[in-house]
Structures are given as C-alpha cells and as structure tokens.
C-alpha cells in the first residue's frame, strides 16, 4: 500500500526525522488557514499516489494569500496521470542549499535491504544513476543484523560527506531504516533530503516522502493506517480487493478470469495478440464456489463486455467448486455472453461437466492458444 506524501512525513516525524512545518488541506479555505499559521512563502503540493508529480506541475510556491488562492484553485481542479487531486499539503518553504537522495528498498535477487544515497537528490535521480554512477552509493544490509549508524557513515563518506553533515545524515538514514523495518516497507524514500542554508532543525529537512508498505504485512503494523481499499481509485479494482482477488481494469472488451498471475499474464499476452482484454482477474489460491460467483459478478460489471475467458488449474484450487459458482451466476442472471473455459488438473472431468451444464464452452487441451482460437471463433475480430 502506497502512502500519501503527508502520511509518510507524519511517520518520519514520529521516528525523529526532521520534517517541515505543514498541514493538509482539502479546500482552499483550509489551505489559507494553514499558510497563515506557517507564514508565507509556502509550498503547495498535490497529494496523489503516483510519481512524477513535480514535473507534471503538482508542486507550486505561493508568496501571498492571493497567489495561494489561485494556485490552490487550479490544483484542486487538476488531474495528475489520471488521478484527481483531493488534498494539498501546505508546507514551509525550505531554504535549500543542496538536495540529497536517500532511499531503502528490498533487492529481489540478493534478498537484502539495500540503502541507496546520492548527493544529487531531486526528480532526476534515476538519470543520475545512469549517467553519473559515482554520485550514487549503495549498501546491502544483513536483514537479521539491521542497519547501524557506523554503516550509514561508511556509506555517506563514499559520497564525500564529512563533519556534522556526516553524523546528522547518518542519524536520519538509520531512522529511515527504522521506518523501513517497522513498517514492513517495500520502499522508504526521502527525495530530496534538503540541506538548509541555516542550522534550523540540525540543518536537514525531509521535504518529501515515499513509503510503500507490503500488503502482506498490513495487519501486523503497530500504527494507525488507512484502509487499503480506501485508496484504490477505480471502483472495480476496489471491489476486487474487497472480495480478495487481484483485479486490473483495462480498456478492451474481453473479460479474463485466471488462477495464478503468471497464467493470467500469459492469457492476456495470447488474447492481446488478436483481441482486447477488458480486465484481468486473478483468483489466487483460494477458489470457492462463492468466490467465483463474485468474480463473475465483478468481471461482468464492465460495460460493453463481449465475452469471458476463464483459464484455471486444479492444483491448490478446487476448480469443480469454482465451476459451480460460475454456473450458478450464469443461471441467476441469465448470462448470454459467450464464455470459454479451459480447466485442467485435479477434478477436471467434474469441472468440465459442470461448466457444460451452464452452457460454457469448455476446452480440454492444454495450450491456452487453442482455447483462445475457440474464443476468437465465437466473437470474431475486434
């Protein structure tokens, strides 16, 4: 689960990382009040769960209430990469001397937390990584041992940091690791970590936050977090989360239900060569009659659907039970859309029989391509 910038800043503050004075506004009136308390100039930052906000114009400075009103009004009517702006973070304007980058993620291949720092913070950090790798330093942690200040200092010294800046930045980096660890984060990032012209707050200010929490760990985090479903903008995707499946909304007209992400992606790849997927629903390993009933309901919500393609295997999943759910849905709602199902593995014969009883076109051969041929026969070209 991705956190909003302002939520991350609150978390940074709770572990003692220096952060700007700020407030969150849902209206221009709120923003005016907050700015009044902080004092002008203030920075207005659109809160959206997507990267590249700054380059897209979602961050503006206001030096007077009048300017703030204008900017705030614009931002609240703004969309960034298709996402509406519902909240603004209003914060003090930092007196920037330099900008650093600090980020922690899990390296998938080594299976270790990796701490990345750079003297060139800001929006272009990935480009810096490519063009000036000497300005980036990284450290792979032992997940059992953790990450200690001496390791942070060794890392930061590779960037040439020294004196108070060295120990202060090391302190922040260790606190960022604490966030990473206590919040089961996949990403914990401060970009930029601002070095101020003044000594205020120890001379450092974390003016942005990126925190993504591992969904599998949400229930064990000892911190009040919002509901995961609240922050899914797409209503169909939200419903998918609610019933416990992965649902991705797409632009086409063929509904896809698959068990397993890999099989689902392969199915999309095969279908996508000739037809356009409307969505992609991956059941995971928890198929029941009830679940597939709900999956059908969700997939069919998509308007202009021309057909449904079901691709499931009986390994951990009792696919015969799932088939019962599909057929029950078809009967309850008199579904007339063409449905093609490929279902193999444990209980396959029983599953075929159930599907056929509901008018589903069953394919019994292994290659998904053959089943998609069948689908193509039924619906024709796009």
């Amino acid at each position: 689960m991705r956190l909003y910038e302002y939520e991350g800043i609150d978390i940074f503050e709770s572990v003692g990382i220096p952060v700007p004075r700020r407030g969150v506004a849902e209206t221009t009136e709120d923003a005016l009040i907050i700015a009044g308390e902080i004092g002008y100039p203030v920075v207005l930052k659109a809160q959206v769960l997507v990267g590249g906000r700054g380059l897209a114009g979602g961050v503006k400075t206001a030096t007077t209430p009048e300017e703030l009103e204008e900017i705030s009004g614009t931002l609240f009517n703004f969309e960034i990469k298709g996402l509406p702006v519902r909240k603004l973070m209003v914060c003090e304007k930092a007196d920037i001397l330099r900008e650093l980058y600090m980020g922690i993620t899990v390296d998938g291949f080594s299976g270790k937390p990796v701490v990345v720092v750079s003297t060139e913070g800001g929006a272009h950090i990935e480009e810096t990584a490519r063009t000036s790798p000497d300005k980036i330093a990284s450290f792979y942690c032992d997940p059992t041992f953790g990450f200690y200040p001496f390791q942070a200092r060794m890392l930061l010294r590779r960037l040439g940091l020294s004196e108070r800046l060295l120990t202060f930045c090391a302190d922040v980096l260790v606190r960022l690791y604490r966030v990473f660890s206590q919040f089961d984060a996949l990403i914990a990032e401060i970009n930029p970590m601002v070095i101020l012209k003044t000594g205020y707050q120890g001379g450092l200010l974390a003016v942005d936050s990126v925190i993504e929490i591992d969904n599998s760990a949400l229930s064990r985090i000892q911190y009040p977090l919002p509901q995961m479903t609240e922050r899914i903008e797409n209503p169909l995707e939200r419903k998918g989360r609610e019933i416990g499946v992965t649902y991705v909304d797409l632009g086409g007209d063929i509904g896809i239900i698959a068990s397993g992400a890999g099989l689902g992606m392969a199915t999309m790849d095969i279908i996508g060569q000739r037809l356009r997927p409307a969505n992609f629903l991956e059941t995971g390993g928890g198929i029941t009659e009830e679940l597939l009933y709900k999956c059908m309901e969700l997939v069919i919500m998509k308007v202009n659907l021309r057909a449904i393609f079901i691709n499931i295997y009986g390994g951990i999943n009792p696919i015969h039970e799932g088939a019962r759910g599909v057929v029950r849905y078809i009967r309850d709602h008199n579904v007339t859309l063409p449905i093609v199902a490929k279902a193999l593995g444990n209980h396959q014969e029983e599953t075929w029989e159930i599907f056929r009883s509901g008018g589903v076109h069953v394919v019994t051969e292994a290659p998904t391509e053959i089943a998609v041929d069948r689908l193509f026969e039924l619906v024709g070209k796009k």
Partner: protein
C-alpha cells in the same frame, strides 16, 4: 538420479491438519510420494491420512527420519516454522503459502543460506518429479516422466507447459516452482545449475515473467557455460505498467525487469525465446527433444 526428490526423500507436511494441508497430503500420497508424517503445534498425537502428527519438527525428524518438508502453514506463522525446520536439520523446504511478508522472506533466505538449506517459495506450487513424487500442489495428472526440466516463477503456468509437453508425449525430468514473490528463497540460476548437472535432464524450459532480475541472472549463468539447450517464455508482454513511484528500486535494478530486457539477455546467452507457450512444441522438434 532426479533432482531434489528421489528414493531417499522422506517428506513431512507442516500444517497437515489444516484443510489444504490434509487435502494436499492425500494428493501427494496418491502420487506415490513418501510422506512420513506431519507437524501442527498443539495437534501432536493425532493422525491425518494415517500419518502421525507431531507438535514439533524436531520430534517428527526423530520419529520418522524425515529429511524434507512442505509447508501449508498460515502466512503469519511461516517464519517461525521455517526457523524451526532449519534448526531441526531438514535440508529441503518447500514453502507453498502466499502473502508472506517480504521482510520475513528475507530473514528466511538469510537463514537458509547460513544453515545450507535448499528452500523454494514462497508462493510456489512446489516440486514434482514425474513418477517419483511431489512436494506441493502440482496436479499430478498433467505431468509425465521424461527428460525436460521446467523451472517456473508461476505455478499454473508451469502446469500449462507440462500439460502442453505431456500431450505431445514429451515427459519431464523434474518441474520446479521457484515461487512467484519478489524475493524467493532460492534464485533461478541455482536451480538451473541443478538441471545442468542432472544426468536425467536433456533440456530446460524457463518460464519467467515481467519484473525482477531472475531471468537476467539466469542468462548470465547460461552464457557462462550451460551446455544443455534452454527455451524461455516470459509472461507479461501486455501487462499494464505498475504505478511505480519510488526511485530506489529503479536505481538498484537499472534497466532490468522488463519483458524486453529479459528476452534480450536470454537470447544473447543462446537460449531460445518462446513468444507464446505453444511454441515450445516446435522447439522440442527442432532440438530433437523427446
């Protein structure tokens, strides 16, 4: 000698008293696997499918001579069970459950390396050696004995490939599910190494998917001296891009992780790229694999 599972493999099932644990134990026994017992803390003394259930792995090992374990343990308890199993001296662990926190997985991975345990998963269908046995959830009916090895990041997609091959009477030497999570307990090149060394395997299929660096690293291994033919399918060509926000991952990974980068790396290493699963049939014909 097949890889991972052979005549000496004695399997215990952790979480054997749960619904999935008991069902899958039945399927494993039916497939001919030497399952010797199960473990569920607090349920010691019971039996499931006529197998003894123990409170601890230590006791299970002492009483049954078990040397391999397959997990159907609820996600929040997997880390604890993993430590217990490694401490009890078991050297092969298959972690079937999904939704295990990544921060737990990285601790398990470090522990496995320290204790020299070969562990697969999480979110793996397990291992199946046709005609010998299976640890996990792979549906036995789709597999047949033969000389092609399959390594897959996806469970159901590994069934798909085995199914396609079996329908054409091309059997498998072993099918290994690595696990679908972003961090897995044993990396792809290490499994590839087992197949390269296995005298019952003639060729290997890698079933990958978008994301991560496993396939790129596998390509390095292949380029550095894999002698057996390799074919690879990478799923996710038409998948929508994630709304990635953080830079850290991108900095660490560089350009790796896309279907293109994986296919390019594998192609450069000498592997055959399959654009669609069904192309695997042509590959076997071309390479005279049967």
């Amino acid at each position: 000698m097949s890889i991972l599972i052979d005549d000496k493999t004695r399997v215990i099932v952790q979480g054997i008293t749960g619904k999935i644990g008991s069902t899958q134990t039945r399927w494993m026994l039916k497939y001919g696997t030497t399952v010797v017992g199960g473990v569920t803390p607090g349920k010691g003394g019971n039996t499931v499918e006529d197998l003894p259930v123990f409170d601890s792995v230590e006791e299970a090992v002492q009483e049954t001579g078990a040397n391999a374990s397959v997990f159907f343990v609820p996600a929040p308890f997997v880390l604890d069970a993993f430590y217990e199993t490694a401490d009890a001296g078991i050297k092969l662990i298959v972690v079937v459950p999904e939704h295990i926190p990544v921060h737990d997985v990285i601790k398990m991975r470090a522990y496995a390396l320290e204790k020299e345990v070969l562990a697969l998963g999480p979110t793996t269908p397990g291992i199946l050696v046709p005609g010998k046995g299976k640890m996990g959830i792979m549906p036995g009916s789709l597999f047949s004995p033969g000389r092609v090895g399959i390594i897959s990041r996806s469970g159901t997609l590994s069934y798909e490939f085995a199914g396609i091959l079996s329908e054409k009477d091309i059997g498998q030497s072993a099918v290994v599910g690595m696990g679908a999570d972003s961090v897995i307990l044993t990396n792809l090149p290490d499994i590839l190494k087992l197949f390269e060394a296995d005298d019952e395997t003639d060729a290997v299929i890698i079933v990958g998917e978008v994301g991560g660096m496993q396939e790129e690293k596998a390509a390095e291994f292949i380029a550095n001296g894999m002698t057996k033919p390799v074919a690879s399918y990478i799923a996710g060509r038409f998948s929508p891009e994630g709304k990635c926000m953080g830079h850290a991952g991108a900095i660490v990974r560089g350009s790796a992780g896309t279907v293109e980068s994986k296919c390019e790396a594998l192609k450069a290493s000498g592997a055959e790229i399959l654009k669609s699963p069904i192309e695997v049939i042509d590959w076997t014909i071309k390479n005279d694999i049967h």
